[in-house]
């Protein structure tokens, strides 16, 4: 069974700083998707960034980028020039491309951006 591990329950950084959230996963599959979701306080979960496992190039979305290390089964999220609106719970997530369409989530990292 696939598992997703986020080892940082909570983090705080100053506004404008860069922060990296860690995520590791375990799978025997070769084709899968990885996601980072953001859940702001009392608001719905939204997709931040996604990565297809067969692509070596790391995904980037504006200030958000990932460091995907397939051999190490690592998928970290880097937020550059952090903003107060980035304060949220961040979930790393995994989906098996071949078998089913279920997303498996990690426990999340609560990120506080301090003014």
């Amino acid at each position: 069974a696939q598992t997703v591990t986020q080892s940082q329950p909570e983090m705080s950084v100053q506004e404008a700083e860069t922060v990296t959230l860690s995520c590791t996963y375990d799978t025997s599959e070769n084709n899968y998707y990885l996601f980072w979701y953001k859940q702001p306080p009392s608001r719905q979960m939204i997709l931040v960034i996604r990565q297809e496992a067969y692509k070596q190039q790391n995904a980037t979305e504006n200030r958000f980028s990932v460091n995907f290390q397939k051999a190490a089964k690592s998928f970290s999220l880097k937020i550059s020039d952090s903003q107060l609106g980035d304060t949220a719970m961040y979930f790393c997530a995994f989906m098996n491309m071949n078998r089913d369409d279920k997303i498996i989530f990690g426990k999340g990292t609560r990120l506080h951006i301090l003014p």
Partner: protein, 113 residues
């Protein structure tokens, strides 16, 4: 805007009293999911519908049931809520492009008293 809507936002129910949570979508997505999210835990998939096909997770308690009368609506029924069922319940949808990820509703926070 196309979206996923969950009602109510907050629900208080009595121990043992059946409760229904609802989810509707305007995205015309064929897959709908129900997740249970407890504090400091990963969202846990309870079940999902692929079109009309119901898929129950092996560890979902029998106390939890679901209905999908049409493409737009999906319901979560808790037959006899216990204190341990207090949680945020998230509804999500996805289309045939799984790389697009899920679209989530805002969730229903269930309190059992």
């Amino acid at each position: 805007d196309a979206m996923v809507i969950q009602n109510p936002r907050y629900q208080v129910t009595q121990f043992g009293k059946p409760v229904t949570l609802s989810c509707s979508q305007t995205l015309n997505h064929n897959v709908m999911y129900w997740y249970q999210q407890k504090s400091s835990q990963a969202p846990k998939l309870l079940f999902h519908y692929y079109d009309k096909d119901f898929n129950n997770e092996a560890d979902t308690p029998d106390n939890f049931q679901s209905r999908r009368p049409n493409t737009s609506f999906c319901f979560l029924d808790i037959r006899s809520p216990g204190l341990g069922d207090a949680a945020m319940y998230l509804c999500a949808t996805s289309g045939r492009d799984f790389l697009a990820g899920y679209t989530f509703g805002s969730g229903t926070r269930l309190t059992v008293v």
